[in-house]
Symmetry: C2
């Protein structure tokens, strides 16, 4: 067989020749309204235009001295600009290094210095960070702004590329060379970099286009609410480029109304995002329907959701109230990220109770991914759907080391093979269904047993008076730890007694939180997840109303 | 990223754990009826059982001395037996070498000796060939018969594997090692072997499962009418195993009624086969409908067709008369085989005139495949949808050499890259749509210009009085060659004058054949295609009725 390498360069002729007219729309910041909030304008381009401009970008970067293997950083929200960088930078042999815009400046500086990026492309809204980068990132030489008017000492992206030809002499690349770099948001210690290769990105794209995964093809329009700066927007962008799907980007406008309107306007067929974003979308769909002005989201045939365990009540509500199908996917920065999908096994009605139960779990591995469980002593755990263990994963798009750090203790050996220890606690059923119970660090250890905070949260959120819930461990003199629930009420807050009673039918009695606190908001971290570490810290001295479980 | 190899071993845990209950049905020869025709019985098994037995087969072969890299041949029709061999042989590191049952014994002997297979697995119906193999294939040591009762000196498959454990210590494999071997049917000269690697098979399976290709997933039941002994049943079998689709095999029963009944009984959602088989299926569906007893083939949502150019009239008839969707695919033994698919570009109604026109062409490349055209001087030809050239193809599942022969003149260099010269003459449109005009050797060269026999045949077959047509070149004193049409009438044979008149509105006037001969049958070769070489030979002295075109 021919020795043809799997690289992002394969996306270029597909965009240029096969799918040049497929739409790419981006909500851009046009200005500010009287309340100081950004207002949106819609930018329209096509996959063909994006591919031509990505060649121009490659030409411009080459002139700025970018060599194969160099890191080129981005600090940007989702837009056609970012898409052009996604396509052009790896295809010229450089590495696109996406920075998480939600990280504090100290972490951004640390990450930039760790990657040693020479060039930074950024949205103009992040220009205020530039002095810090200039002062503290000695290797950073060139700054390119996704904007027309740019400050002294930076390049305007459109200006810079306009003089370049629309073709580029793409070099021969090895599929195992680096293409993208993304750092985990690292709740403890310094962030860790994951270097994606051309091979891993392209295999991931091939596998995720299938309907048993994300289902992205030439007739689709994909709205990746999930940011391009984190875990490659779950690969949805590469998958769209490979299969010729249109793309709709909402940029900074990821609130429920903006997302709902964009889904409607662009006739999006697929969207993907974390639970918190989807809860906001559901709320807006509900509001509009109640107001007698429902959105027309009839084109939307699949919603991918993940990042944290997806509450069954969310999956049900989207279907029952709006006819929308949500599929849960599981992965992490280190897994590219797609590892499992909750597609419902053949023979089971996806909208039956059984079907919803399957969709509330993390599901089964996509092709070429393997999973296993380890106990605390490093021994394999039975896949019986009940016994919990640390979830291990391996496959051709799973990280085998961290950038510059090599093989850390996050990697373990089992059956003579290398696996990634995900830090998740899960069960796996005999039929291969993964059910993540918790992050290992979020588990509640009560009386020598484990309580899955995720499962308690899932049960709590099914109560009509609860719109979001977080369960954390609080030290307890007798039981080591006991669960505390914090929740954002939906309407009038239900009483702790009512919630306790409600949970009795749904989870083991000793899993029921000892206290329930109604709060008006919960802290959300850089990747859209609730910050349990902060909440645990804040409530570590919580005094149980009645001393907690006896 | 982890160095995880893409091998057929990845199919095993998917069959065993994720999709163990998916059905595999096979029509087996039960006996003979009074007319001496084989009668069928239906065998039922599952993907899980097939995977367990494939491990038993690997154990048995190992005991017989099969080592990694050894060739293990099969001479068999489609069945669960052949499927077990597909899964077990490559996964143990050996190479499954499928023999085309329709080849003459001299070619089979030549091929077996070329591959040097040590072991042969065969259906009992091919036992009469055994003495010839024994006498002429010195390297062949062991013969295993897919049957209960076996002759002296052979092994009965079921007996042989029954004592083996259902697990096997599958060895570590390099994805670039050989997994399957298939010889082209070689109309001239000796057959040429194509060695598929684990990587090429698995990438092909990943890409062909997508709905823009064959569309095979866990909810599907696939009936590959296309034989497993030729071009891997177009990869449909591996794709089914990867994504968890059920399989239905019709074995020797590939006539219209058997196929139609199996599609109905097994609720097949996808089937794939060559044009001649699909014409027989259409005829049977028509017959049954006219008799007031139509088949229920409502589960069938996609028919893949290829091998030769698919007549538009067939695609239309299946839709208009039976509501069935046919997609044309193009490839050859050397291309694994899927290279292009006639999925209709986004924005065009697949059942409009425009949609059918797209589906009558070979379509656009699947991911990671590239195509190009060369003229007779080895220069690239414009992709304008009109200029013909020799079709070149390259990609990670395209052969880069022939087994034991290396890089022959079938491989050419263009833009510093290696390409396969397919021997097809095609146009490619600006939007990448491939339209195969002819095999280079089947083109009619008239007055220094080329006539596409495929296009003339396509036009002829749209006439209601024509059920099949073949157009061949016949030497002509003035024009070098002129086209002669042979056709099998549908009902009363239309007159040459009527066909000539009919074609005037559909093809260039000088492309219209000079004679039209009604025949009762046309010779079909080992891969289900009309044998144009034989027809040309038979009619090379044809005397034109009126001297032919002036």
């Amino acid at each position: 067989m021919m020795d043809v390498q799997l690289t992002t360069q394969a996306l270029l002729p597909r965009c240029l020749t096969l799918f040049p007219e497929r739409p790419v729309t981006s909500l851009m910041v046009a200005g500010k309204n009287e309340a100081g909030q950004p207002t949106a304008s819609r930018h329209r381009t096509t996959l063909g235009q994006v591919a031509r401009r990505s060649a121009q970008l490659a030409g411009a970067l080459q002139q700025l001295g970018v060599q194969p293997g160099d890191r080129v950083a981005t600090l940007a929200v989702n837009s056609f600009y970012h898409l052009e960088a996604y396509l052009g930078i790896p295809s010229m042999g450089a590495v696109i290094h996406t920075l998480n815009i939600r990280l504090p400046i100290e972490q951004l500086v640390w990450i930039l210095n760790d990657s040693g990026a020479k060039v930074l492309l950024l949205d103009s809204m992040f220009l205020p960070l530039l002095p810090a980068f200039r002062a503290q990132c000695p290797e950073l030489k060139e700054v390119i702004v996704f904007s027309a008017q740019v400050p002294e000492g930076t390049h305007g992206y459109d200006d810079l590329i306009s003089s370049q030809p629309e073709t580029y002499a793409w070099p021969e690349l090895d599929e195992k060379s680096g293409a993208m770099l993304c750092y985990t948001s690292g709740t403890t210690g310094n962030p860790k970099g994951v270097l994606y290769t051309h091979r891993s990105l392209m295999l991931h794209a091939l596998a995720s286009g299938h309907p048993d995964a994300f289902g992205i093809g030439q007739y689709d329009v994909v709205l990746p609410i999930v940011p391009m700066f984190h875990a490659n927007a779950w690969g949805t962008v590469h998958t769209a480029l490979l299969y010729g799907a249109g793309l709709a980007f909402t940029g900074v406008f990821n609130d429920g109304p903006s997302v709902a309107r964009t889904l409607q306007d662009e006739k999006a067929t697929m969207c993907a995002g974390v639970v918190t974003v989807m809860l906001a979308l559901l709320e807006e769909l509900d509001r509009a329907a109640a107001a007698g002005q429902p959105y027309d989201v009839s084109a939307l045939n699949k919603i991918g959701c993940g990042g944290t365990a997806v509450p069954e009540v969310l999956i049900r509500a989207l279907y029952e109230r709006h006819g929308l199908q949500m599929m849960q996917a599981w992965g992490m920065t280190e897994t590219s990220p797609l590892a499992t999908c909750s597609n419902v096994p053949a023979g089971i009605d996806p909208v039956s109770d059984e079907g919803f139960a399957h969709r509330s779990k993390q599901g089964r591995v996509v092709p070429f991914i393997e999973v296993a469980l380890l106990d605390d002593h490093g021994q394999p755990v039975t896949h019986d759907g009940a016994t919990m263990g640390r979830l291990l994963v391996r496959g051709p798009w799973i990280a085998g080391e961290y950038y510059k750090r090599g093989v850390t203790s996050d990697f373990v050996e089992l059956d003579g093979k290398k696996w990634l220890d995900t830090g998740d606690i899960a069960t796996i059923s005999a039929s291969g269904e993964v059910w993540v119970q918790d992050r290992a660090k979020d588990l509640v250890k009560s009386g020598g047993e484990w309580i899955s905070s995720a499962e308690v949260e899932n049960a709590l959120m099914a109560h009509p008076g609860v719109s979001a819930a977080v369960v954390v461990a609080v030290p307890h003199p007798k039981w080591t730890e006991r669960p505390l629930a914090l929740f954002i009420p939906h309407g009038d807050a239900p009483s702790p007694a009512e919630l306790r009673e409600y949970l009795k039918g749904h989870i083991a009695k000793w899993w029921i939180p000892d206290d329930f606190l109604a709060v008006s908001e919960l802290p959300i971290g850089a990747t859209g997840k609730f910050l349990k570490r902060e909440i645990r810290e804040q409530y570590k001295n919580h005094v149980w109303t009645d001393g907690g479980m006896k």
